[in-house]
């Protein structure tokens, strides 16, 4: 297998988010995209003329619109620029950042603008997502993120009482974080005192997956500016270095129809590969914050073990002991995560953007105290796409 090698360093120098809401009737898609682009350029202190290339993406068909990148040109500032469209389902936002990293690190472009968007309320997500699976073999089993399997797996391993309590603990922790994030879409004001009640009264979706556990449907867009080391000096914000990233994709094990042995998850595979080639043996100790794409409280819970290369019930113990809280050893999703805010084509980029804001130290009320030097961000998409991205405050590592 070929080795990945960067020609030069790439950094995030601008971050732009829109308002997130269940309905953005006040803007059409072009105007919403523009809000994120404008905010990212203003944040970087750059003009649209400083951008060499644009990568654009959203979840295909979720607005029931073909080739939205063409329509969005005016909002993107794409006039006369090279533009690529990238769409990898829920992972889209992180794939856009990975692509921008590659485009800059390769030396092809000095400054790349990555833009992810979604207006879920304009379309019909079920219509789009059902089309994802092979109609002859798998379509009847296709559910997207609305799946009870992770709840079943957690409960099967740790029992009903501990499993359900951990999932609701995770959910309330996320809401506590979202309450501090002015941009978070859903802020419910949940408290741990309400855990017992929520475990029983929230509407059941599939098995032990309840409405309270599930991610939101949001309208919104996010943009980041990625620049080379030299171009980064022109920006007014301090650079956040993209140290390395990995993307993993596996379709046929969605339902594991072909095997009886559960394969290694794409989350663990991605973490093993990325940390391995960067010489990171203890990710819990190394990273100061983790922005994780958590489509539901159950998946978030289960994936912490995978991403952090933990064994047994180590992730549950860490959760129960508050280690993932905003003031814990490894804060997870200070932003409130995907359960709070989920404009899908932008969601995975939000993970990277929020992690970068943590490194810059300007996240605001949900800023991790004590300074963040090493941040991790993940993306997740339909057929178990997993993206994992490492961000650094300082240029002090050896390139892999």
């Amino acid at each position: 297998m070929g080795r990945k090698r960067k020609n030069r360093n790439a950094a995030i120098v601008g971050i732009g988010q829109t308002v997130y809401s269940s309905h953005r009737e006040d803007q059409n898609q072009v105007e919403m995209v523009h809000e994120a682009v404008r905010n990212a350029l203003d944040d970087a202190g750059l003009a649209v003329g400083d951008v060499d290339c644009i990568v654009h993406g959203n979840m295909e068909l979720f607005e029931m619109q073909f080739q939205p990148d063409l329509w969005h040109s005016l909002g993107l500032g794409a006039l006369g620029k090279d533009v690529f469209r990238i769409t990898t389902g829920g992972t889209t936002g992180s794939s856009l950042v990975c692509a921008a990293d590659n485009l800059v690190a390769s030396g092809l472009y000095d400054t790349v603008l990555a833009v992810g968007m979604q207006k879920l309320q304009e379309g019909n997500t079920t219509g789009g997502i059902t089309n994802m699976s092979d109609p002859l073999w798998f379509r009847n089993m296709q559910t997207g993120a609305l799946s009870g399997t992770s709840a079943q797996a957690v409960i099967g391993e740790f029992g009903e009482e501990r499993g359900r309590r951990a999932a609701i603990h995770y959910r309330i922790m996320m809401d506590n974080h979202a309450m501090l994030n002015p941009r978070a879409h859903r802020k419910l004001g949940l408290t741990y005192e309400r855990a017992d009640e929520l475990m029983k009264t929230s509407a059941r979706l599939v098995g032990d997956l309840r409405l309270i556990h599930m991610c939101s449907q949001s309208d919104g867009a996010c943009a980041v500016v990625v620049a080379s080391e030299e171009a980064a000096r022109r920006a007014k914000t301090p650079p956040v270095w993209i140290r390395d990233h990995v993307e993993v994709h596996r379709e046929e094990t969605f339902t594991n129809l072909f095997g009886f042995v559960r394969p290694e998850t794409t989350q663990r595979y991605a973490a093993r590969k990325l940390f391995g080639r960067n010489g990171i043996t203890d990710p819990v100790k190394y990273f100061d914050v983790f922005e994780m794409y958590d489509p539901s409280a159950w998946w978030g819970l289960a994936w912490l073990r995978e991403f952090l290369l933990l064994e047994g019930d180590a992730h549950l113990r860490m959760l129960e002991e508050g280690k993932f809280d905003l003031d814990g050893d490894l804060p997870v999703n200070p932003s409130g995560g995907v359960i709070a805010t989920n404009p899908i084509g932008a969601t995975a980029m939000l993970r990277v953007a929020e992690a970068a804001m943590q490194i810059r130290g300007d996240a605001g009320e949900h800023q991790v105290a004590g300074g963040v030097r090493h941040a991790l961000a993940s993306g997740f998409g339909g057929t178990f796409w997993t993206a994992l991205i490492m961000l650094e405050k300082d240029l002090e590592w050896e390139m892999p």
């Binding site: 309905h23 953005r24 009737e25 006040d26 803007q27 059409n28 898609q29 072009v30 105007e31 523009h34 649209v48 068909l61 607005e63 029931m64 619109q65 005016l74 909002g75 500032g77 006039l79 207006k119 309320q121 304009e122 379309g123 019909n124 219509g127 089309n131 109609p135 002859l136």
Partner: protein, 153 residues
């Protein structure tokens, strides 16, 4: 055998997709539609730095990125045909019964044309530069069909 491929006993899985969707017109687009419907006025936005007047309106100037959404100007209800075609096939999604003329029309005072329907002239006699005026819908409509069609002056 056709094209050299053996296609005997090969199944085709039949499928049909529904594409229900909405379009959020936004504040700027909605202002245009409201003026058309309630006041029978056609509004555009003008960029103060480029001097360009855009119809349909947009929040930002595509040339200089100035915010122009509030720089409303009223346009004349007359303009000229920039280009046209004739719709001759019939389908239930079409706004009019074919054949009808679909034209790009640039109103006086506007720098951009927008598409609409031209009636009251034989398609054979339509030409670029032909002067036309807007005929408004008799009942309120929440789309561009607030103008029912254009007709020759």
């Amino acid at each position: 055998m056709d094209g050299g491929a053996d296609k005997e006993h090969c199944f085709v899985v039949e499928a049909r997709m529904a594409l229900p969707n909405e379009y959020f017109a936004g504040r700027t687009g909605s202002r245009f539609l409201t003026a058309l419907r309630d006041e029978k006025r056609i509004l555009g936005v003008r960029c103060p730095s480029c001097g360009m007047t855009f119809v349909p309106p947009r929040e930002y100037c595509e040339r200089c990125w100035s915010k122009i959404a509030e720089n409303w100007v009223e346009l004349e209800k007359e303009g000229e045909i920039v280009a046209h075609t004739v719709v001759r096939y019939e389908d239930r999604h079409l706004p009019k019964k074919p054949p009808y003329i679909l034209a790009l029309i640039q109103l006086k005072g506007a720098d951009t044309p927008f598409p609409h329907i031209v009636e009251g002239v034989d398609p054979a006699y339509v030409f670029p530069g032909m002067a036309v005026r807007a005929v408004f819908a008799k009942v309120p409509v929440n789309t561009l069909m607030g103008i029912d069609h254009f007709e020759p002056l």
